[in-house]
């Protein structure tokens, strides 16, 4: 009985108890839910030491779990976000139906994720992966019938990923007669070359689905935007990182030994960059805050995939840094949108307007997340971006830099769009009674916002963990070579001092703010109706906020690019696929029993594998 048993046990037990507590009363359920997360997280962070190992026995298969520094890094993201989003979801989900079910799945998906990062063999990895997938699927369809189609898209793509992963596992087992990941990385080079490349590609496919890489991203925007926002914070912030986690392992342990190493890396890096570019462009033209952020998540994951795929030391640091930071600011952004949805009743950017004075704290955290998302110094989003660029440039991927840079610059466009449309612009009477979100929702957001600033000045606190994780993966210690507590280095020895940047920024800002506040009484607040409308009076039925087709000129400029709109073909493809797999729908119809059958089928297959049925 060690901390791994305890954590997983608390999470699993908490999930079941929460479901039953719902029958008793809502308060008990909420308490159960939040205490499960908090206790699990607290125990985990206090007690967990790397190299802890645990073994479960499950019907003939031995599931071995363990913790290393890479897993620890990702569990920081998972549990950290889980605590914050857990508190957030209490007021957010208040008054909705079927909450026991929701919270159970919530906890189950955390359970799944924690299992993944602790898995030491492929079977347990796969089992936890599926638990995570199903629980997240059930939350995606939680919002009702409309979500069903979206859920089917999600589960179809996940199944694709799962099947390819399963196939890879079968192939590994057929070669090595072991499920252990350690054995896999040790014995990978002994496999035939064709097996090596096939296994690597299959696993990459499986993980790329979760990480929403470009050809496989189609499910992501819908699924992200349809789950309740308190879960999407987890979904986009942590769950998608499981794909990154898988990719990191694949690239470190397998791809680097491949003879086709270079081409695989380049291809995936380019796919990541194209994901970033295209998803950014789609995000720019979204009119719904959730959709916009969903596409933005896809774009950010594109940077991370590129970083992972390049696979040099600094690019790996960059990718992991970006993973953590993306988890923070994107979770925060989704929470902001959730707060706005709860308070103002909509997330339609063409309807929302002028909430800044109603929801100042929400705006503050949105602003901080936006600056971090755009990668602007002095916030922490900059650190990862900087390292990514440096790695790409020093690695010779010059055109890739330009593509990523384009995506990043175009990112300012949607960042501004979402901030402007929700919080700025005209203050209209229909949002007159909007209030700031409850404290339980605001505090997690503000905490993340402040953390973004803190890590911006002292990125070393995060880089320390990343460094440990890299050492586990076989990279040399990078502290002092690539970073110090407040300084970043590139391949040529040039450096950036983050704390100085932060201090300078704050000094200038505060000085000018004092100048501005001097003789404060000369300034006067006027309402947004008192603007110079060319001398005309504003009319009630006319709209002076600029909302529709926000980036029309940009759209016109890139219209040659948009002509080959991939999503169009994808939609056709997806439609065709849905029609073709019409019978599949009967299986994936959202009915619990069918999923039970699905689960059992997978387990049976696994058991069969375990008992050497498929031995070649």
């Amino acid at each position: 009985m060690n901390i791994i048993h305890i954590t997983l046990g608390i999470l699993l037990g908490g999930a079941i108890l929460t479901y039953f507590a719902n029958k008793i009363s809502g308060v008990v359920r909420d308490l159960m839910f939040i205490s499960t997360i908090v206790v699990a997280a607290a125990l985990f962070f206090i007690k967990m030491t790397p190299d802890t190992v645990a073994v479960f026995n499950l019907g003939g298969i031995t599931l071995s779990l363990g913790m290393n520094h890479l897993g620890l890094l990702f569990s920081i993201i998972i549990l950290g976000l889980a605590v914050l989003a857990g508190f957030y979801s209490l007021p957010y989900m208040k008054g909705k139906d079927n909450l026991g079910f929701f919270y159970m799945n919530y906890l189950l998906s955390i359970f799944g994720m924690m299992g993944i990062v602790m898995s030491k063999d492929l079977v347990s990895f796969f089992i936890f992966w599926e638990i995570m997938t199903w629980s997240s699927y059930l939350i995606v369809v939680y919002n009702g019938n409309k979500a069903n189609k979206i859920g089917i898209k999600y589960i179809l793509f996940s199944a694709l990923g799962a099947y390819s992963m399963l196939m890879a596992i079968v192939m590994v087992y057929s070669q090595l007669h072991s499920f252990s990941i350690a054995d896999l990385s040790a014995g990978f080079t002994t496999m035939p070359a064709s097996y090596q490349i096939t296994i690597a590609l299959l696993l990459i496919t499986g993980f790329a689905v979760k990480a929403a890489m470009m050809p496989l991203h189609v499910w992501a925007p819908d699924a992200y935007s349809n789950a309740p926002m308190s879960y999407t914070a987890m979904f986009s912030g942590a769950l998608s990182k499981m794909g990154v986690y898988g990719l990191v392992i694949v690239f470190v342990t397998m791809v680097s030994h491949l003879p086709q190493n270079f081409w695989v890396r380049e291809t995936i890096a380019w796919l990541g960059a194209i994901t970033a570019g295209m998803a950014t462009i789609y995000a720019i033209f979204q009119d719904d805050a959730k959709k916009l952020l969903a596409y933005s998540s896809v774009a950010q994951l594109g940077y991370i995939i590129t970083g992972v795929a390049i696979g040099t030391e600094i690019s790996m640091i960059a990718a992991l840094m970006l993973s953590i930071v993306h988890g923070m600011f994107k979770a925060n952004f989704f929470m902001v949108v959730g707060a706005v949805e709860r308070q103002a009743g909509t997330t339609d950017l063409t309807v929302l307007t002028g909430l800044i004075r109603k929801m100042p704290w929400t705006f503050f955290s949105a602003l901080m997340s936006a600056i971090a998302l755009a990668g602007i110094p002095p916030l922490v989003g900059y650190v990862g971006k900087w390292m990514l660029y440096e790695s790409l440039i020093s690695n010779g991927n010059y055109i890739l830099v330009i593509v990523i840079f384009f995506a990043s610059t175009a990112g300012f466009l949607y960042v501004f769009k979402i901030l402007y449309s929700i919080f700025l612009g005209q203050e209209e009477p229909e949002f007159e009674n909007v209030k700031e979100a409850p404290a339980l929702m605001v505090i997690p957001m503000v905490i993340i916002a402040l953390l973004l600033g803190f890590f911006g000045a002292f990125p070393g606190y995060l880089l320390k963990y990343i460094d440990n994780a890299l050492v586990v993966m076989g990279y040399p210690v990078s502290q002092g070579k690539w970073w110090e507590m407040t300084t970043l280095f590139n391949a040529w020895g040039n450096k950036v001092s983050t704390d100085l940047i932060m201090y300078t920024t704050i000094t200038v800002f505060v000085t000018i703010a004092i100048v501005l506040f001097y003789r404060w009484k000369n300034g006067r607040y006027v309402s947004t109706k008192d603007i110079s409308l060319s001398g005309e009076m504003p009319k009630e039925d006319e709209n002076y906020s600029f909302k529709l087709d926000f980036y029309k000129p940009f759209e016109r400029a890139i219209s040659p690019l948009l002509r080959y709109k991939i999503s169009k073909y994808y939609n056709e493809f997806a439609d065709g696929m849905e029609a073709f797999f019409d019978w599949t729908r009967r299986i994936y119809n959202g009915n619990a029993q069918t999923y039970a059958i699905y689960v059992i089928t997978f387990l049976v297959i696994l058991l069969l594998i375990a008992n050497n049925i498929f031995t070649v």
């Binding site: 660029y389 010059y398 840079f405 384009f406 300012f412 300078t504 920024t505 000369n522 002076y544 980036y551």
Partner: protein, 301 residues
């Protein structure tokens, strides 16, 4: 003591930048007037304008973001100034130039635009919002050739530090001759960066009634004007550092920056304004081709 000297040096740098930037804008107005067959205002007109704007008795705002917009602008103008070397090999102006590099500068220069955009957005003026969308779109346009030129230089000399680039130019000669393609791409991007005609689409008066700044008056406008002049000097100094090897004393610096400043100014005098999409396509046309050529050149060399 060291800290004190640095602080004083930083303040001195900012003051010099303010004075020189304002002076350049005054000279710009004077030259514009001469080209237009006029006498034009005195060169110190801009100082008077700024003083008047700051000494306005009232200034209204529509909320905290508009109130703080000049502060955000100042971060990127003053901050960038502090992170680039002003003079080469001098113990004067000892600022923070050794703690930032090109990619950092690239991003840091955007913060002001974002803050300004938020401030203008809060006014609720539709003209301001349209102006911002134009400005951000245009920024995506000119950043591409600009970053291409920078990457070309980085890979040519294997450094991202501005002071290193300056030192290298001491040995090898000016970068504008070492990699002329990158210089051309950067200069064309500079036209967009300065937002003079034909790229003054953000605040086009005849179209948007001065766009984002249409609700800013009094001290806000005055501070924004000052920030603009500091930023102009900053950008020029950055170009001088990158392509003309920096300057060893202030006179050379003034000559070099002013020569560069003439390019967007004179080009603007005889050009009508582009529409937004035309401007973006312009930047993605020849400047980007030049930038790519510069990349190829620096890889080959």
């Amino acid at each position: 003591m060291d800290f004190l000297i640095k602080t004083l040096g930083a303040i001195a740098t900012i003051i010099v930048a303010f004075i020189v930037g304002m002076l350049y804008m005054g000279i710009n107005r004077k030259i514009t007037a001469r080209v237009q067959n006029r006498v034009g205002p005195p060169v110190w007109q801009n100082y008077i304008d700024a003083l008047k704007l700051v000494s306005k008795k009232t200034s209204v705002h529509h909320g905290v973001m508009q109130h703080l917009a000049p502060a955000f602008l100042m971060i990127s103008s003053m901050g960038t100034l502090l992170f680039i070397p002003i003079l080469r090999g001098q113990s004067w102006f000892p600022n923070l130039s050794y703690h930032g590099d090109l990619i950092f500068i690239l991003y840091f220069m955007v913060l002001g635009s974002l803050g300004m955009a938020l401030g203008a957005g809060q006014t609720g003026n539709p003209n301001a919002a349209i102006g911002i969308t134009r400005g951000l779109s245009q920024m995506v346009g000119f950043e591409i050739p600009w970053v291409m030129a920078l990457v070309a230089m980085m890979i040519q000399y294997h450094t991202t530090s501005i002071s290193d680039l300056m030192a290298i130019q001491q040995q090898h000669g000016w970068l504008m001759f070492q990699n002329p393609l990158a210089f051309l791409a950067a200069i064309l991007a500079m036209l967009g960066m300065f937002r003079y005609s034909p790229f003054d689409i953000v605040g086009a008066p005849a179209e948007l009634a001065s766009g984002p700044i249409s609700e800013f008056g009094g001290k806000y406008l005055g501070l924004m004007m000052s920030s603009g002049s500091i930023f102009a000097f900053t950008k020029l100094t950055l170009y001088v550092d990158l392509f003309m090897g920096g300057a060893s004393n202030i006179v050379v610096l003034l000559i070099e920056t002013f020569t560069l400043y003439l390019i967007p100014m004179l080009y603007g005098l005889v050009s009508p304004r582009y529409r937004t999409e035309q401007a973006i396509r312009y930047f993605w046309g020849w400047p980007t081709v030049l930038g790519l050529a510069a990349l190829v050149y620096s890889v080959v060399i």
